[in-house]
């Protein structure tokens, strides 16, 4: 039985992407200028909605790649009986996947010729927002209480 931690580089990449995608997500609401966030050195871009949404897309793409990488890795690891996911990890994964899927739907909605009916559009917006907030809260709780993602890990 092999128990290994995920690559430190990928782990930090995930943390960085998660923090920044949440930050840009909040800045998709008109708060960056209102609350002086865009006045902070190096954060002027957060008040530019078009720039902010592009950074949000890129970080979302990075998180999506990492989610597929780790998710598929889990599937492969399970087939070799190399590890199991903690309850905290399952919760975070669920909310992250929900946030990613609704995020993809909303990015598709932004393409020319794609329009969602109003109730569906609102449901998507709210689902994206709430799943992201729940992902943030469960991640913070996991960070404070030192809950790991997985009990036993293969280096995948």
């Amino acid at each position: 039985m092999t128990t290994q931690q995920p690559s430190p580089l990928l782990a930090w990449l995930y943390r960085l992407a998660a923090v920044l995608v949440l930050f840009t997500g909040f800045c998709n609401m008109p708060i960056a200028k209102r609350y002086y966030i865009s006045d902070l050195p190096g954060l002027g871009w957060s008040g530019d909605f078009f720039l902010n949404v592009q950074v949000h897309y890129l970080l979302g793409a990075l998180l999506l790649a990492l989610a597929v990488y780790f998710g598929l890795g889990r599937r492969l690891a399970r087939s070799n009986n190399l590890g199991s996911m903690s309850f905290s990890g399952k919760l975070r994964a669920l909310f992250l996947i929900l946030a990613l899927l609704t995020g993809i739907a909303m990015a598709v909605k932004n393409l020319p010729g794609v329009n969602f009916r109003h109730p569906y559009l609102m449901a998507m917006n709210l689902a994206h927002m709430f799943s992201a907030v729940l992902f943030m809260l469960t991640s913070l709780i996991a960070l404070v209480t030192r809950r790991p993602w997985i009990k036993r890990v293969s280096r995948l």
């Binding site: 092999t2 998709n28 609401m29 008109p30 708060i31 200028k33 209102r34 609350y35 002086y36 909605f49 078009f50 949404v53 592009q54 897309y57 890129l58 979302g60 793409a61 990075l62 999506l64 790649a65 990492l66 989610a67 597929v68 990488y69 780790f70 998710g71 598929l72 890795g73 492969l76 690891a77 070799n80 993809i104 990015a107 598709v108 909605k109 932004n110 393409l111 020319p112 010729g113 329009n115 969602f116 009916r117 109003h118 559009l121 609102m122 449901a123 998507m124 917006n125 709210l126 927002m129 293969s154 280096r155 995948l156």
Partner: protein, 324 residues
């Protein structure tokens, strides 16, 4: 082409009275107005005499949608960054020379010279109803939305009045009324600041196969509405006939408000008074093009993840085999 202002004022006074009876729809009513197909409007600005019959009709038709603030406005936080925008006084409600929460359509004036001739044009201005509207795409709460028939609306019941739509709109069309809306029931001081208002092209009339009020009321048949493809064709034909110019066909990726003018729009733009609530006529690139280019990154991300995981798994499996 030159029309003295005094004549315009004279015509305006006369036609305001006559326009109610002289409504002449310029669209075939059965041309899909209620069928859900994408509709566009064509404005032949040569015909506009600035009588403001459309402005009055718009205000009357949409009066029940106008905001009615009650009680004191919340003290916004931070007060130096969040300005109260209040158009609800009797005096301000009557403003018709710009866009406001109570005036969704107004007449712009452009006087100048082009090709050695003077021009004096009046132009109805309102929401362009973009085909891929940034106000819809970037509204964080889904309050702004596009109907199947191309009408871009802001739902007053769910808008928090953050005015992001106004900032991302290339023409800064939506206008805010503070002290109203759902934000008062949430965190009135800390999030939102009222409701944003703009032309909704009389969606309730269009849904019944009727014309928007501004089109119905126009005595000079300045506007037409119909399926976008037909309207665009008509605009091109008209522009070719008069050796004129088109605005709105490609602006911001294409809009459902097409202007045809005998004067180039860059010339008109220079002649216009511009400011808050007074949109320009500049050329506008597709504002959503850059974010949409990044869809490629989102599409490639899962592929990268699969390749990465497969490669890593293969290496790990090989390592395990070697160790055993």
């Amino acid at each position: 082409m030159s029309v003295p202002v005094s004549r315009r004022a004279f015509i305006k006074a006369g036609l305001l009275t006559a326009s109610a009876a002289a409504s002449a729809p310029t669209i075939v009513r059965g041309a899909g107005a209620s069928s859900g197909s994408e509709l566009a409007t064509l404005m032949d600005i040569r015909n506009c005499i600035g009588c403001e019959a459309c402005v009055e009709a718009c205000r009357e038709s949409n009066a029940d949608k106008f905001p009615e603030p009650e009680g004191e406005f919340p003290r916004m936080v931070p007060v130096e960054r969040v300005k109260i925008e209040d158009w609800s006084s009797d005096e301000k409600r009557e403003v018709t020379d710009r866009l406001t929460p109570y005036n969704w359509l107004y007449i712009q004036y452009a006087e100048g010279e082009y090709g050695g001739e003077s021009f004096d044009l009046t132009i109805p201005r309102r929401c362009m109803h973009c085909r891929n509207a940034p106000c819809v795409n970037l509204c964080p709460f889904g309050a702004a939305h596009t109907q199947k028939n191309g009408i871009v609306r802001i739902d007053a019941d769910t808008c928090l009045g953050g005015s992001k739509c106004r900032k991302v709109c290339p023409w800064h069309i939506p206008q805010r009324q503070s002290g109203v809306g759902i934000h008062l029931d949430l965190l009135p001081q800390y999030a939102g600041n009222g409701v944003m208002y703009k032309c909704d092209r009389c969606y309730q009339l269009v849904a019944q196969g009727e014309l928007p009020a501004c089109i119905e009321a126009c005595p000079e048949e300045v506007q037409e509405i119909g399926p976008r493809r037909e309207i665009l064709e008509k605009a091109k034909t008209l522009a070719a006939e008069i050796d004129g110019f088109i605005y709105g066909a490609d602006e911001n990726g294409g809009t459902n408000t097409i202007y045809v003018s005998p004067v180039p729009f860059e010339v008109l733009n220079q002649a216009l008074a511009k400011g808050p609530g007074e949109p320009h006529f500049k050329s506008v690139a597709d504002t959503m093009a850059a974010p949409n280019r990044l869809m490629a990154a989102l599409a490639l991300a899962p592929v990268a993840g699969v390749i990465g995981a497969a490669t890593r798994f293969k290496r790990t499996a090989e390592n395990l085999t070697t160790k055993e």
